[in-house]
Symmetry: C4
């Protein structure tokens, strides 16, 4: 398939998802900062989801820069990844409004985990499509921190610990997500910064 | 015309249509999963329409990859196709909210059929524009499953049977649409997976 | 300036304007066709505005295909054109809801006229930027029907007649707009259909 | 990184921000111009923010045309710039609705200042990334009026004077913003008008 067109379509959807989240900031009915400040908890969730999209796009960009082919399998794995991303505005709005309630936080946490799995599937399909022609590409993608995290037992131990803690202290969901995103933003492949 | 710009414009519209459908998921007013679960019937319609857009884009991408020219006729047939696609958010929202009522399902079914006819017109115009210069292109487009389905008598017999059944069991509309989309997603031309 | 990026930005805005107009179709609260049919007058205004965008984009595409340079003047004339286009969702929604009232129709008519003037300014600036280097480009743009219409005295006589008639029969606005758009869609330069 | 894809993603977000601001114009409930005119104060704020985006995009386009590399640092500085821009619809809606109240105007003013600082950071990071390979690029960016304004003491004296005046006459915020934008629109580098 035409890689540029798949990338452009993905970018358009991601850009719209990002900007839909802005619509959730309601213009205050009163001309006072206290009316504006009522949105503070949504602002926190929004900032984390903004970082989420920044990290997701960076990794997506890296993987698609590497792959030479876009097969039908990659196309549908990419669509699945988009489908999960598209749940971000709803989960952010809900988790932001009820920042200290367990069920909205749990929902946000599950969407984040689903995104991670959809990303793992997408990278797996890209690795498979390039294994024979471009073995280096496959190796590079397998070294990405998003990819490696999914295959570490201790990651899933922490994950389960967070799941359990949400019931007692719901904001742990956003704290953990933020930390994981910062880790993923920092530990990127060295060559992701190069010219493509 | 400039093919890249027509493709980019089409992609932007399709990406926005996709994401408008997300806006229909209202953030639950209560912090409980049961409040979230109230949207279950819309979720079903949304997933089917998401698949719809994935299949539509895939076929659009294939046809536009093949054609060398974008004539004024192709431009307006493409606009008609966009016009019908743009009805998807409304028809999905209505059919999702009233999943067991015949008139909303019938409306969804008619929009889907109109889309299929607009697609047939678009592919016909592309075939005509390439018939003399690129006879191979014309042959390839005529072999696409979306194109062939429209010319089979048994397809329209099933179509009429579904139309009749909607009055007794409205969800048949979504079930049939889903099956047809899966068939179209699986039976794609072999070379649609190649590099362009 | 980078022509491709200005085109892409313009296309994104136009695509979003087009799709914002779809948001005005409210999902019917009742599962009956009669509830759906309540939107009929907006549907008419929407279809005309859809055609409007199709014609506007076609002419914009042609002019930008011809020009070799995008100067600062072209950039700001293009922004003015976008500014007027961005009023289309509001004017369409208002003229569609009150299809038989003079003031909403007059507003739609004025936005359409402003668009025509913004388009004339944009084409004038493009002609000026290419006059010395590309005299052929200037000649071609001056032959476009959108451009020529503005310089015909009989066009403005009809225009004033429509303005006067709106007070007695408001829908004349949409009828006249539709006819003018069809004329502009048909009488396009011969070479607008070529490869670029 | 792939410069074209970062540019395209940025453009999509900016285009959506621009068009979200249009959604704030509510279709009047009455078919009279007086109902339409109720939006007059938002229209003023909208026009200024439209000019804002035009100026921002022009400068962004110039800087990205010059840079040969897009590093991870540029990517995240660009995201920060997008984050601040994304606050524009809310701040415009609020400052437009309460045009004579100090707190909404102050908020708009702060967002504008934050944008200027985010822009300064972005240009600083671009200068740093090009200092060794492309010293000319660094020099050119340092000569942009947006960049230079931030390093002038008299600019910040005026800025503080405006901050103080907002409490007595809130519209000073929009007047000052408008003047600064016009200055930035006029004083652009000579070569920003060239072919890229």
């Amino acid at each position: 398939m035409n890689k540029g067109r798949v990338e452009a379509f993905t970018d358009a959807v991601v850009a719209i998802i990002l900007t839909i989240m802005v619509l959730e900031f309601k213009t205050p009915e009163e001309p006072t900062f206290s009316a504006l400040a009522a949105d503070w908890s949504y602002l926190i969730a929004y900032l984390i989801s903004f970082l989420f999209i920044g990290v997701a796009w960076y990794n997506h960009h890296y993987m698609f820069s590497l792959t030479k082919r876009v097969t039908k399998g990659i196309y549908w794995a990419n669509n699945l990844w988009i489908l999960v991303m598209a749940m971000l505005p709803v989960s952010t709005a809900w988790a932001g409004r009820f920042i200290d309630r367990s069920q909205p936080e749990l929902f946000y946490f599950l969407i984040f985990t689903l995104w991670q799995l959809a990303y793992a599937l997408l990278s797996y399909v890209i690795v498979a499509a390039n294994r024979t022609d471009q073995p280096k590409v496959a190796t590079k993608i397998r070294h990405m921190s998003v990819y490696r995290m999914n295959t570490r037992w201790w990651f899933w131990v922490i994950w389960m610990a967070v799941m359990g803690t949400i019931h007692f202290w719901p904001p742990i969901c956003l704290v953990f997500t933020l930390i994981e995103l910062i880790v993923m933003a920092i530990y990127t492949p060295n060559d992701s910064d190069q010219l493509f």
